[in-house]
């Protein structure tokens, strides 16, 4: 347990005062000054001792995985346990990322749950290294630092915004799908009518109210429900716009927003990057957390060499699915990639960063598909 103690400005000031008093006491008429000095020294000593005790007594739980969303407060809490009998005040938990949280007072033999106050504005997975606590317990004359041995991660999920889902294709009947077909089935939510009972119809679909009229048995019918498929391709390239913001982050945010809106409409989605190294597939009833974790873990290409030289196998994408391309950097290479990945007879849409508003390549993209969108930090709009 590494503990370091440093005097604060107030502590240094009090020590300076002590020195002044000492000089004064040398010339003093009385020895009472020494008693007085002793009190000040006692206060300093108490602060020193209890600062160390306070720092030693604290244990933190829940640092292994902290979850938050870009620009929003944390969703998870940190549990702080004070094992000493004395209360500890003014505790700050720090890491190499900055101040995580601070506690004003924890009573002796007590537990406190704290939501970290830090706000992260860029999604990703951050390693919590060099964790340390700082206390000014109890008088604030010394800052006591204690290095913590814990290591953890902070997962910052992308901040999603409402967006219109890209057009889907490859519709297949699916209960709960938002697209209605022309045929009727026995399953579904949208009641379309009744028909006479035929042999083989399950008994539970009998419409008892209609059957009670005495004209034979009738069964309920519903409109057929369909859901489509969308394949998202994201270009993972670092790009900084004129406002020094990472465009890749915006691209991931746009991808997340589009993916969730597609899932909300009951479509199945597939996500992959241009190099196919990050493949993900989700059905409409898939858990949100897993998608968010996938999006959070997306990193730019330059950090991920292609599996140490081995070619990555192309995942088996759905052939009927529509395609949505989200670009983080618009250049000729990117346009070529989009062209290569596109297949005919499918609905396509391309999402381009806002910074390329006036780029000439836009026309070329529009030639590929008219379904082109710009995306900013928190919105999408059609070109």
């Amino acid at each position: 347990m590494q503990i370091k103690v440093k005097p604060t400005k107030a502590g240094l000031f009090l020590m300076f005062l002590l020195l002044l008093f000492y000089v004064f006491s040398i010339m003093s008429q009385t020895g009472l000054m020494y008693l007085f000095l002793g009190i000040v020294i006692g206060v300093i000593l108490t602060d020193f001792i209890y600062g160390i005790f306070g720092a030693r007594a604290l244990t933190f739980y829940g640092l292994n995985k902290l979850i938050t969303t870009e620009g929003k407060p944390f969703d998870t809490e940190i549990k702080v346990v004070n094992s000493s009998r004395k209360g500890v005040c003014c505790v700050t938990l720090k890491s190499d990322l900055g101040i995580l949280c601070s506690v004003d007072y924890i009573k002796g033999k007590n537990i406190k749950h704290i939501t970290p106050k830090a706000v992260f504005y860029a999604m990703g997975i951050y390693r919590l290294d060099k964790l340390s606590i700082e206390t000014l317990n109890p008088f604030g004359l010394f800052t006591t630092y204690r290095k913590l041995r814990y290591q953890g991660i902070i997962k910052v999920y992308p901040e999603l915004y409402p967006a219109a889902s890209p057009p889907a294709s490859g519709f297949e009947p699916m209960l709960g799908g938002h697209y209605k077909g022309y045929h009727s089935t026995l399953f579904g939510e949208d009641f379309s009518g009744i028909r006479p009972y035929t042999k083989g119809d399950p008994v539970k679909f009998i419409h008892w109210k209609a059957s009670s009229r005495g004209q034979g048995l009738y069964v309920k019918e519903f409109r057929e429900e369909f859901s489509g498929k969308i394949t998202f391709f994201i270009q993972l390239k670092d790009n900084i716009n004129e406002r020094n913001k990472n465009v890749l982050n915006s691209a991931v945010r746009a991808l997340g927003s589009l993916a969730f809106s597609a899932l909300d409409l009951g479509h199945s989605i597939e996500i992959a990057d241009f190099s196919f190294s990050n493949y993900f597939k989700a059905s409409p009833f898939f858990g949100d957390t897993e998608i968010l974790e996938y999006l959070t873990a997306l990193k730019s290409d330059k950090h991920e060499p292609e599996s140490k030289g081995k070619p990555v196998e192309r995942p088996s994408f759905s052939r009927k699915a529509s395609q949505a391309f989200i670009l983080s950097k618009l250049d000729k290479l990117a346009v070529e990639e989009v062209k290569n990945k596109m297949t005919e007879q499918k609905k396509k849409s391309v999402y381009i960063p806002e910074m390329y508003k006036n780029d000439q390549l836009i026309k070329e993209v529009l030639n590929i598909t008219p379904n082109c969108f710009f995306f900013g930090r928190s919105k999408l709009w059609k070109i």
Binding site: A10, F13, L14, L17, F21, F24, I26, M27, S28, Q29, T30, G31, L32, M33, Y34, L35, F36, L37, G38, I39, V40, I41, G42, V43, L45, T46, D47, I49, Y50, K86, G87, C89, C90, S102, D104, Y105, L136, P138, F139, G140, L141
Partner: protein
């Protein structure tokens, strides 16, 4: 009300009171308190001056107080505190931030420190206690409020909940006070004197004189009980202020040599080897330039003088007796007496009688005819005066011409000065160098504190005589008198002595704890540790023996009472039982019945029952006994032990002959 209760405001008030007390009158104190009360009750939150205006205002006050208040640096420092008091009051008009709060605390502490110079009585104890309680509270509150987000239910630093913290602070104050080395600057008195008026060379101030023919002592003085000095000493008798060596027939005075410096004291010796004396000057108007001491002083220092020096005739003179409160000095004297040699010139000077008559010479020869040496002669003269003369205050004047002769042959009565003068003259007539010493006779010892009270009525004069083989010796010719020279120590009532002792402790050991006191304290601690070490070393074996006997008897007593000694036996039994149970398990294992680890003994018993194991009742008995002893902490008797032994044996034999499983199910695979 909240403002009145605020620890910071209370400390500000204490600081203001301390500051107000530095003035001779109570007006300022009253004004400060009134303003404090007003500002607390108004609870203002309005800044009347900007930061810069505030700074210049306080600067103006500081300059004003420095220039126009006080005569010396000490008084000017006191005056500066008043400017800080104005700042404190100003800061009570608005909410303070962290930095300002710390600064306000520092100012309050400074003012209390200034108060420590003024409150020399017990009142300061209350100030100290309040400071001990308030300072941690304030610092905690300032720190906590800085860190906390909401102050809805602020946590307070309560005295009863933080006893250990307060104990640390209190102990540290005491330890620091006792052990931190006191360093006195050589020029510390400059702080209290009027700038640079200290003269480095001795000046001839009003010379002390003693006229033999006159009766100088008054009855008023002899009854004056005012305490002049309190002297810390194991034994003390003659406390000499100065000696007079020059005699012109009637008048004793100090010669040129009495002012001539022979030694400037320097602190370069190991003072632990010398006898330590500490003198508290309780009489505030003490302004003499002669320092009263007893014995040959090796080193002397005090808080109201600089550069004391020893003169050729043994007087200790100071350059300036700085007027200040709470004067004290300490000195160290040799344990062994030093016998100085006198030069012929000095010898001649100190044996000048100023002319005595033939009649007196003959009388003197007659008185000392049966003596062998000079010391005996001196003793004879002294005892003659002691026994045949009478001590009397207000005795008639002696003739100015040959007053000694007049005193010896005619008057035969008088005060101490007259006896001292007569003896000195008579000794000088016998070729014995002699001086008249003036000082005090210590009579009143307070046994609680091992110190002497010296009062005005203890003033005394005696004679110092020189003998080649004995050095300078005090000889007192004054006859014992109930009023003046009662050598038996005066016994005052217990409560008075106790009160006096408390006062002495406060002034001598707390207000005036000096380097010498610290040396004694350390020496005492060292001595105590040494004594304790020797004592323990001597009786170490006995202590060990006694402790051994005590612990053994205690063990036996409690062991018998609580059946502790059966524990081992029970353990052994338990082990035996375990051993039996293990044996049983081993036998069963031999016949492919293995106890699974996750089964308790009773569950295993059930398991055996289901599988129809032979000798089930016996196994049940052993299991029952085993659980009863292992988990129920029950005892096992001898019969049960024998029975278990027999059962185990019989099970073993039975199994070897018939197998573990009964015939009916022997074909079934054991599960």
């Amino acid at each position: 009300m909240e403002n009145l209760k605020s620890p910071l405001n209370i400390l500000i008030l204490i600081g203001l009171i301390c500051q107000g007390m530095t003035w001779d009158t109570y007006y300022l104190l009253f004004v400060y308190c009134l303003l404090w009360l007003l500002l607390c009750s108004l609870n203002l939150n309005r800044k009347f001056f900007g930061d810069l205006s505030e700074f210049f205002l306080i600067l103006t006050f500081l300059i004003f107080f420095y220039l126009f208040i006080g005569d010396n640096l000490f008084e000017k420092c006191m005056g500066l505190g008043n400017a800080l008091a104005v700042l404190q009051l100003l800061r009570m008009t608005y909410r303070l931030d962290y930095r300002r709060k710390i600064f306000t605390l520092a100012i309050a502490l400074t003012q209390i420190a200034i108060g420590a110079q003024v409150f020399l009585n017990y009142m300061f104890a209350a100030v100290l206690i309040l400071t001990i309680i308030l300072v941690p509270k304030i610092l905690f509150q300032i720190n906590y409020r800085e860190a906390s987000v909401d102050n809805i239910n602020p946590i307070k630093f309560k005295f009863l909940k933080h006893k250990i913290e307060y104990l640390i602070i209190f102990s540290s104050a005491i330890l620091f006070f006792l052990l931190f080395p006191r360093i006195n600057f050589e020029s510390n008195t400059r702080f209290y004197s009027n700038f640079g008026n200290i003269q480095k060379k001795p000046v001839y101030f009003t010379k002390p004189e003693l006229k033999t023919s006159n009766e100088s002592a008054s009855e008023e003085d002899s009854k004056n009980n005012v305490i002049l000095f309190q002297v810390y000493a194991d034994s003390l008798m003659y406390f000499k202020s100065f000696s007079m060596d020059k005699f012109d027939g009637d008048l004793w005075s100090i010669s040129y040599y009495g002012y001539l410096c022979v030694d400037k004291y320097t602190k370069n010796e190991n003072l632990m080897d010398y006898i330590y004396r500490k003198v508290n000057v309780r009489y505030s108007n003490f302004n003499s330039k002669f320092l009263p001491v007893d014995g040959k002083v090796e080193y002397i220092e005090g808080n109201f003088f600089d550069n004391p020096f020893l003169t050729r005739i043994g007087n200790i003179i100071i350059h300036e007796n700085v007027p200040r409160k709470n004067k004290n000095y300490e000195y160290w004297i040799r344990r062994k007496k030093n016998i100085p040699a006198l030069s012929d010139r000095t010898f001649k000077r100190l044996t000048k009688t100023g002319g005595i008559s033939e009649k007196l010479k003959k009388w003197l020869l007659n008185l000392t005819k049966n003596t062998k040496d000079k010391y005996e002669k001196a003793q004879a003269v002294c005892s003659y005066l002691n026994s045949n003369f009478k001590y009397e205050l207000g005795a008639p004047k002696l003739k100015e011409k040959n007053p000694v002769e007049n005193f010896i042959f005619k008057e035969k009565r008088g005060h101490c000065g007259r006896f001292a003068s007569a003896l000195a003259v008579l000794l000088r007539a016998l070729d014995i160098p002699a001086k008249v010493a003036v000082g005090y006779m210590a009579k009143e010892k307070n046994n609680f504190g091992n110190y002497y009270n010296i009062r005005i009525k203890d003033s005394h004069a005696w004679t110092e005589a020189y003998f080649r083989d004995r050095g300078w010796i005090n000889m007192d010719a004054t006859p014992a008198d109930e009023a003046a020279l009662d050598f038996q120590k005066i016994k005052e009532p217990l409560y008075k002595r106790l009160y006096d002792y408390i006062e002495y402790i406060w002034y001598s050991k707390i207000v005036n704890l000096t380097y010498g006191d610290q040396l004694i304290f350390i020496k005492d601690i060292g001595r105590l540790i040494k004594m304790a070490g020797i004592f323990i070393n001597r009786i170490f074996l006995y202590i060990l023996l006694i402790l051994g006997i005590l612990s053994f008897s205690g063990l036996v007593f409690f062991g018998i009472k609580k059946n502790k000694f059966t524990l081992h036996w029970r353990k052994r039994k338990k082990q035996n039982i375990k051993h039996f149970y293990d044996r049983l398990l081993r036998i069963l294992e031999k016949y492919s019945i293995k106890k699974p680890d996750n089964l308790t003994p009773y569950e295993f018993l059930d398991y055996l029952y289901k599988n129809n194991v032979n000798n089930y009742d016996d196994i049940n008995f052993i299991t029952d006994i085993f659980c009863r002893i292992k988990y129920g902490m029950k005892r096992i008797n001898e019969n049960e032990m024998d029975r278990i032994e027999n059962i185990i044996e019989s099970i073993g034999k039975f199994y070897s002959a018939n197998g573990a499983i009964s015939d009916e199910k022997s074909n079934k695979k054991f599960e």
